[in-house]
């Protein structure tokens, strides 16, 4: 109706009653329809929720029975009746991921994440998918989201588990430096007395080459269980890497033979034995034995230098010296002649200088010709531990 003809409903009196009646009837009809709709809606929702829950329960049962394909159908059916249920969506996504359908799972999870960005569970699943797809950046992002996200049950334990999973992921990708601080954080968040987690952290510390921390952890573990094989093995490895060969040998000796002879331990055990057999600085040695060990080391170093020079086609007598090996060799060659067992026994103050020369030759040869093997390796490994003890 245009503004220029403002007809009003009230202008025609017969209409007023008619419209009033119609509107009242409309309102009555509306109330009836509202009641009917409410009833139908309630019955319907009850029905579909029952159906959805039943299908979801069936899906969970199928999933537990390892029937992922059937579980997927069940979860989909459940979602068809309750499409916005985040629990159903999450389980469907997990089942999809378990079935290797990462893209589909990711799609559901991203949807869930957009609704609850702080969800630890969703972030963790996304991180796992990213991990499977070798997407380092995404995996890191989602693992961080999961670690700092919300967890319904036991959030501290869940966050610890997530961080552990992140460490495993980083180590599997060779990102040792990135993993190291996470392992430390793990260690710091272990509840007092939780030896199982401490053992896990010990292993992770070894894998992230944090030997001193690892040794500390294993000491704690061994204090609680002196004969625990894993702890003895871990402590032996940590002590060995720290150059504490006497301690390493102690732990190796306490390990059962079968364990000690396993390939990963056997080499280390043999090397420890060789190092200890070559070490002139061990306490309890006689002056003669000590001097003899130094003389043997000098002879080994001499041979190693010559072999290395031959291998690399250089002359040890080259003047002026051009390589480290030539320089080290020529510096020591004049005094070396005098370092006989008898001389060294008479002048024990020269032992340190003689061994320093040995270590220098072994290091220079290792740089020029690669890591040594056998007795040379023992001397080469002994050097750093000696420098730690006697810097």
């Amino acid at each position: 109706m245009s503004a220029t003809s403002p007809s009003t409903v009230g202008e025609e009196s017969p209409r007023i009653l008619s419209r009033e009646l119609v509107v009242i009837l409309c309102v009555l009809a509306l109330v009836l329809l509202l009641a009917l709709t409410a009833l139908l809606s309630r019955l319907y929702h009850k029905k579909i929720h029952t159906l959805a829950d039943a299908m979801f329960a069936q899906g969970e049962a199928d999933e537990q029975a390892g029937q992922i394909k059937t579980a997927l159908t069940d979860y989909r059916n459940a979602l068809a009746y309750n499409p916005s249920n985040p629990l159903f969506q999450f389980h469907l996504a997990k089942a999809l991921a378990a079935a290797g359908r990462d893209e589909e799972a990711r799609s559901y999870l991203l949807n869930l994440l957009s609704e609850s960005p702080g969800s630890g569970e969703v972030n963790l699943e996304l991180a796992r998918i990213a991990k499977n797809n070798n997407s380092m950046a995404d995996a890191m992002r989602y693992y961080q989201g999961a670690m700092y996200g919300e967890w319904a049950d036991d959030p501290i334990a869940m966050r610890w588990q997530v961080r552990r999973e992140l460490c495993e992921f980083l180590l599997s990708r060779g990102a040792v430096k990135q993993a190291a601080p996470e392992v430390i954080a793990l260690e710091e968040n272990i509840p007092a007395g939780d030896l199982a987690r401490l053992k896990i952290v010990g292993q992770l510390l070894l894998r992230t080459q944090q030997w001193a921390r690892a040794l500390e952890v294993y000491h704690t573990l061994l204090a609680a269980g002196p004969n625990d094989e894993d702890s003895l093995a871990g402590a032996a490895q940590a002590a060995f890497q720290l150059g504490q060969y006497v301690m390493a040998m102690e732990y190796f000796d306490r390990l059962p033979r079968e364990r000690r002879e396993q390939p990963d331990f056997a080499n280390r055990f043999d090397m420890t034995r060789q190092i200890l057999a070559a070490d002139p600085f061990l306490s309890g040695l006689t002056a003669e034995v000590r001097a003899q060990r130094v003389a043997n080391a000098l002879a080994l170093a001499q041979t190693r230098a010559e072999n290395c020079a031959r291998q690399t086609g250089q002359s040890l007598e080259q003047a002026p010296p051009r390589t480290d090996l030539q320089r080290v060799y020529q510096q020591g060659k004049n005094v070396q002649r005098d370092w006989t067992p008898r001389y060294l026994e008479r002048f024990p103050d020269r032992l340190d200088a003689a061994m320093a020369y040995v270590f220098s030759v072994e290091n220079a040869a290792a740089t020029a010709c690669g890591e040594p093997q056998g007795d040379d390796r023992a001397l080469w490994l002994l050097g750093p531990s000696r420098s730690v003890v006697n810097p």
């Binding site: 109706m1 209409r15 709709t37 409410a38 159906l51 989909r76 916005s84 799609s107």
Partner: protein, 561 residues
């Protein structure tokens, strides 16, 4: 309450729109519940029904639907959009209430039993029917009765879609055809109130859970352009099939109408044995496609099978809507195109779900030819404005392809096949609108000033014997001088005689060059000539317009085919 009845009718109409919206919302809620109940009862609760159910349910329901459509509710066939247009343009807004009941029962049975149709168009018709009943009962004026059907239609569609903006746009774009201020407010109110009502019972969630949308760079737009081409082609397939097959189906003997829905149901059931996804409205399947749940081969197959199944259902005369199947095909096609593009261009950041979402709008634009609704529907469904660029590009390409190879839009075509001559909104939208500029003359006029000596004016008039004489009294006030009187006064004029002393008519209404000729004709009345003034300076004359000029402009325009 008396105050309500003494409101001016236009305000009363707005209040009525809210009432219509609530009624329509409730009706749509009941309708959707009825479809779900029917589906659970006939096909079972699982998304993959058992063999006997999947084959027998749509076929047997088809027979019942045919009996209802032939003997009880003869007006329930078709989607419902043309019925609303017919109500508006032919029967003064009259939509029989029996159609509402018929649509409700027949569509719930058909869609619930697995026929490949959707509930949106029937909801639209139900809303219109409810509105029409209320309007008639309240004895509204004929003008309002005519407009009340689209108001109800918008309410019904909004509730069915859970998308009020899309519903309003669709009704404006496809049913009314103009942005009439008189009815727009009522349509919006009805749509909003119906959605609010619907959400109170069925929850605020949109039809689908749409995954996050991200457009990484402008280069990705090309990927959506390819989707536009595919969507346009798919739209044409469905359109051409309906264009070809519908008259043939209508030409079949009348007795076959009893079996057509059943035959369609049986065929769909047979497809459904292996691909139950194509049965019914398929919202759950669209939802899965939006979450990248299918591989591209299956997506393409589902799109093709849905086209086939929808054709069977629609051509058999089974009552039900085309919106849901269009959405389904669009999502599957979009997902398939996205998957294929991902295969060849792995660096594409858009997910398969994103392509499926854009695909919905694309097919909507290509098949139903409502480009604005299509764009906004995707935005409204996704709740993400980022989608607008890809959607616009994709829908416009699909729309362009569809228009290029199928001149007449679907709903106009269906109306013509049914023997109705309803106004084509698309044609009306694209009709050339003439403006004053197209008809005005810049010459043939002399402008006199109030202080000018009349002899000077007469001299100029003598030099231009055909020119109209306008007197510029002040900016925005023009008078038309009597040429003969000017010429008469001039020979004996005193030094103080000016054009004001001559006979004149005025003030003359004036026009602007951008006004439509229809407006100009309204203003012209009996004036022989009207000045065309500048909007920046009302004292500046840009030309004049006469009735002859106006008619000449209309005549010289070539008529569009």
């Amino acid at each position: 309450m008396h105050a309500v009845f003494t409101l001016r009718e236009d305000r009363f109409f707005l209040m009525l729109a809210v009432l219509i919206g609530v009624f329509s919302g409730l009706a749509v809620v009941c309708f959707r519940l009825a479809i779900e109940w029917t589906q659970i009862t006939l096909l079972g609760p699982s998304l993959s029904p058992s063999f006997p159910r999947v084959v027998l349910a749509p076929a047997i329901a088809g027979i019942v639907v045919a009996l209802l459509a032939i003997h009880v509710f003869p007006r329930v066939r078709g989607s419902g959009v043309n019925q609303i247009k017919a109500a508006m343009y032919i029967s003064d807004g009259y939509v029989p209430f029996t159609t509402v009941i018929g649509k409700f029962i027949a569509c719930a049975l058909a869609i619930g039993s697995g026929q490949s149709l959707g509930p949106e168009d029937p909801s639209l018709q139900m809303g219109a029917g409810i509105a029409s009943l209320i309007g008639r009962s309240l004895r509204l004026s004929q003008e309002k009765l005519r407009l009340i059907a689209p108001v109800g239609a918008a309410a019904g569609l909004a509730a069915a879609f859970n998308a009020p903006i899309s519903a309003v746009l669709f009704v404006i774009e496809e049913v009314i055809g103009t942005w009439s201020a008189g009815v727009l407010g009522a349509i919006v109110l009805a749509a909003v109130s119906s959605v609010v009502t619907m959400r109170a019972f069925l929850g605020p969630e949109s039809l689908f859970r749409v995954p996050p949308f991200r457009l990484a760079g402008p280069g990705e737009v090309l990927a959506y352009a390819a989707l536009g081409v595919a969507g346009g082609a798919a739209s044409l397939v469905l359109l051409k099939w309906i264009v070809y097959a519908r008259p043939k189906m209508q030409a079949l003997p009348r007795w076959t109408e009893y079996f057509q829905p059943a035959a369609a149901g049986l065929l769909i059931g047979l497809i459904g044995v292996r691909f139950p996804q194509v049965m019914g409205a398929g919202y759950a399947i669209v939802d899965q496609a939006l979450h990248g749940q299918f591989v591209w081969q299956l997506l393409l197959l589902l799109a093709a099978l849905k086209l086939l199944a929808t054709g069977f259902s629609f051509l058999s005369g089974t009552p039900g809507g085309l919106f849901a199947p269009t959405i389904f095909v669009g999502a599957m096609l979009g997902g398939a195109v996205g998957s294929i593009e991902h295969h060849f261009f792995p660096s594409l950041t858009a997910t398969i779900g994103t392509f499926a979402l854009v695909g919905i709008g694309t097919l909507f634009a290509g098949f139903l030819r409502t480009p604005i609704t299509s764009v906004f529907m995707v935005i409204e469904l996704s709740g993400n404005y980022t989608a607008i660029l890809p959607v616009i590009i994709s829908t416009m390409i699909a729309y362009g392809i569809s228009r290029a190879y199928q001149k007449v839009p679907l709903f106009d075509l269906l109306a013509r096949q049914d023997g109705l001559v309803l106004p084509s909104i698309e044609e009306r939208r694209e009709m050339t609108s003439f403006v004053v500029e197209d008809a005005m003359r810049t010459g043939g006029v002399l402008v006199a000033e109030p202080g000018e000596h009349i002899v000077e004016v007469a001299k100029r008039a003598e030099a231009n014997p055909e020119a109209a004489l306008l007197l510029r009294m002040r900016p925005g006030e023009w008078w038309l001088l009597d040429r003969e009187d000017v010429m008469r006064l001039a020979p004996d004029a005193a030094r103080t005689t000016t054009p004001i002393h001559a006979k004149s008519k005025g003030p003359v209404p004036y026009l602007f060059r951008d006004q439509s000729l229809a407006e100009a004709l309204q203003v012209m009345g009996d004036w022989p000539v009207l000045p065309v003034a500048s909007r920046a300076d009302l004292g500046k004359l840009e030309g004049i317009l006469t009735l002859a000029d106006t008619l000449h402009a209309f005549r010289k325009t070539p008529k569009e085919e």
